[in-house]
């Protein structure tokens, strides 16, 4: 027996027993009775029910109409396979934070290679605890199986054997105990085994190999050999998308913002997991509130610096949502990040450095903007330009710009010059303005049609207040106040 395939590798299988249900139920905190059905017309059958529904007596196998008769509070949803598939892929992208090697095992399992990540997470037990906690944050409950091959890990998870098998030499013994239902058997094959009194994997392993191959085909043997690590098990690794998109159906329709926050938390947790997987952050996010029958409401978030801080993102969304008027009830939320911005892990997770100062300033700017609007929070920069009203510009915080050398400039500028009152032939502002001797002539801008020709003076009144005033050339009568020497 060659165990080359298993050397140094350890796999965790995540089997989600209630996945079909959780795809719907995780959008809400409330545990109202909910069941999932499959099939058509009269043949509609319950396949999955939550605890509240089971208390009503709604059990898998019951017909949908019989289930409805058990309680008026019961909601029944049709199983949504495309939604499950999408949710499983989102989950795979999220799981990437635990390992670079993740496989999707449709319809309701993942298997991830953790041999290389054990040290990072502080051992297998700590890693499983982190996985469990993270899954709970998303609204999932999983059973774990740990084994040196991906197939065995999946089988152990599905069979609910939570004793980890880390030693390859103990693998065969552990698998022998599993029921045959973990195998992928063609219709009729299981009955064939049962007729022989074979119910466990170990009993198949004890049968003569050539006999098994003759009766059930080489595929079955190959399956067993892959699980045991005797055959390689090449699989396509899950490749997460360069963007993020996840949708969550709300239980019933929701008419207020608070009703959406819980579901939004789930989506943001998924996003942040996917971002951790890619050592990335997001700068632009879009949340669509989907209404039945009318166009979606769009809530956009623009960040100063890419982030993957779930609390921060959620806080910003809450601020935005508080100002949204819903045109109609909401039936689903869709969170989209068109671009995941690559980031050095250090720049997100280090504290105390100047980089971290900029980061927290970014967080501050976003918090202010979420409440006050984008335009209320601006940066300021100097522009190399002689016309005073063009020598500054509003900017994104963090730019700065360059100034030209000039004579003294006031700390305050009036965005629009103020015509000054004249008293006794002198400009007046809080007192008669006395002009200081130095005049600064500014003539500029003839090339773009907004040219100016002015004589600027520093002027002061009897209160010791100093102002920047000018008059147009040549020697116009009107004086203008343009700045204040604060």
């Amino acid at each position: 027996m060659s165990l080359d395939e298993t050397r140094g590798r350890l796999w965790v299988g995540l089997y989600l027993p209630d996945f079909a249900l959780e795809v719907f139920a995780r959008a809400s905190r409330a545990a109202e009775p909910l069941a999932i059905c499959e099939g058509n017309g009269r043949a509609q059958q319950i396949v999955c029910a939550n605890a509240a529904a089971r208390r009503l007596g709604v059990l898998p196998g019951l017909s949908a109409s019989a289930a409805l008769a058990l309680g008026s509070a019961l909601r029944i949803r049709r199983r949504d396979l495309p939604a499950e598939r999408a949710a499983l892929e989102t989950l795979a992208a999220w799981a990437g934070q635990f390992s670079p090697l993740v496989h999707v095992v449709a319809p309701q399992a993942l298997v991830i290679e953790v041999g290389g990540s054990l040290r990072l997470f502080g051992g297998l037990e700590a890693l499983l605890a982190a996985l469990e906690l993270g899954l709970a944050e998303l609204g999932y409950r999983a059973r774990f199986g740990v084994a040196p091959t991906p197939l065995a890990a999946t089988w152990l998870a599905r069979a609910g054997v939570d004793e980890p098998v880390t030693d390859p030499t103990r693998l065969a013994g552990a698998l022998a105990e599993l029921p045959l239902t973990v195998l992928e058997l063609a219709p009729g094959e299981r009955e064939g085994f049962e007729a022989m009194g074979v119910r466990r994997v170990g009993e198949v392993l004890r049968l003569p190999r050539d006999g098994v191959a003759r009766r059930w085909g080489a595929a079955l043997l190959a399956q067993l050999d892959r699980a045991l690590g005797r055959l390689p098990d090449p699989r396509a690794a899950f490749v997460p998308a360069a963007s993020f998109e996840s949708q969550l159906l709300l239980p019933g329709t929701v008419e207020n913002v608070e009703g959406m926050v819980f579901a939004l938390q789930r989506l943001v947790a998924e996003l942040c997991g996917a971002l951790r997987s890619r050592v990335a952050g997001v700068a632009n996010l879009e949340l669509l509130l989907l209404h039945p029958g009318t166009e979606a409401t769009r809530v956009e978030l623009g960040l100063v610096a890419p982030s993957r801080d779930a609390r921060h993102l959620l806080e910003l969304f809450r601020e935005q949502l508080a100002r949204v008027t819903l045109p109609a009830p909401v039936e689903a939320l869709r969170l989209r990040a068109p671009k995941l911005a690559g980031l050095a892990a250090a720049s997100l997770d280090l504290f105390g450095s100047r980089q971290a100062d900029a980061e927290t300033a970014g967080v501050l700017i976003e918090r202010l903007r979420a409440r006050l609007g984008r335009r209320a929070v601006r940066g300021l920069k100097s522009v190399a330009e002689h016309r005073p009203e063009r020598a500054y510009a509003w900017s994104e915080p963090g730019e700065g710009g360059t100034a030209v050398d000039s004579a003294e400039r006031p700390f305050w500028l009036l965005p629009k010059p103020l015509p000054l009152e004249m008293r006794d032939g002198q400009p007046w502002f809080g007192g008669t303005l006395e002009l200081e001797d130095n005049v600064e002539r500014i003539e500029s801008g003839w090339w773009d049609g907004t040219d100016i020709a002015r004589d600027y003076f520093v002027a002061r009144n009897g209160q010791g207040e100093r102002y920047w005033v000018y008059r147009d050339l040549p020697q116009a009568r009107q004086w203008w106040l343009h700045g204040v020497f604060g």
């Binding site: 940066g379 920069k381 100097s382 522009v383 100034a403 400039r409 009144n461």
Partner: protein
Amino acid sequence: MSLDSLLQRTDVWRGGVAAPPTGLASGFAVLDARLSGGWPRGAVSELLFARAGIGELALLMPALARLSREGRWLVLVAPPYVPYAPALTCAGVDLARAIVVEPRAPRDALWVAEQALRAGACGAVLLWREEVEPRALRRLQLAAETGGGLAVLFRSLRHAGESSPAALRLRLRGIAGRGRRLEVAVLKRRGGWPTGPITVEVDHVSG
């Protein structure tokens, strides 16, 4: 261990030795002397004056310039005019560390100042607002203590008679005549007494 080596250690506290001044140097020696080293960090300072234009910003500019060049952020909340970028650049302020916030609803200004003060990234938060209740001022004071930055509140002289929880209150007056000078009187100072007016030359603050 000898007594000498014990005294050399920085983690041994000795009673009777005055704590070093913790203020942020204002850039004006005459002012620093009155303020035990400079502007009080992690505290609210109130500047009370009749009208803008007497050099009220020039008084702060050396400290603001230094904070910004150290990478600390400056947040100007609800300023009365446009803070003129070329003048700030000439005074040594790194504008890449400046944020101007102009909330549409005036009462939001206090919220902004509080948020900015709490964020440790801000070296100074400057707020222009007349109506600040003592309770709101105490909140600002707490926020400043949390973030450790300078909080400066610019208000009209008519508030001089009100009681205020600010750590420092200065009355500023313009001085008529040539030169750039202003009169500064300490109305209140935590851990000190009010002192009579001094004249501060702000000429060397290029604007």
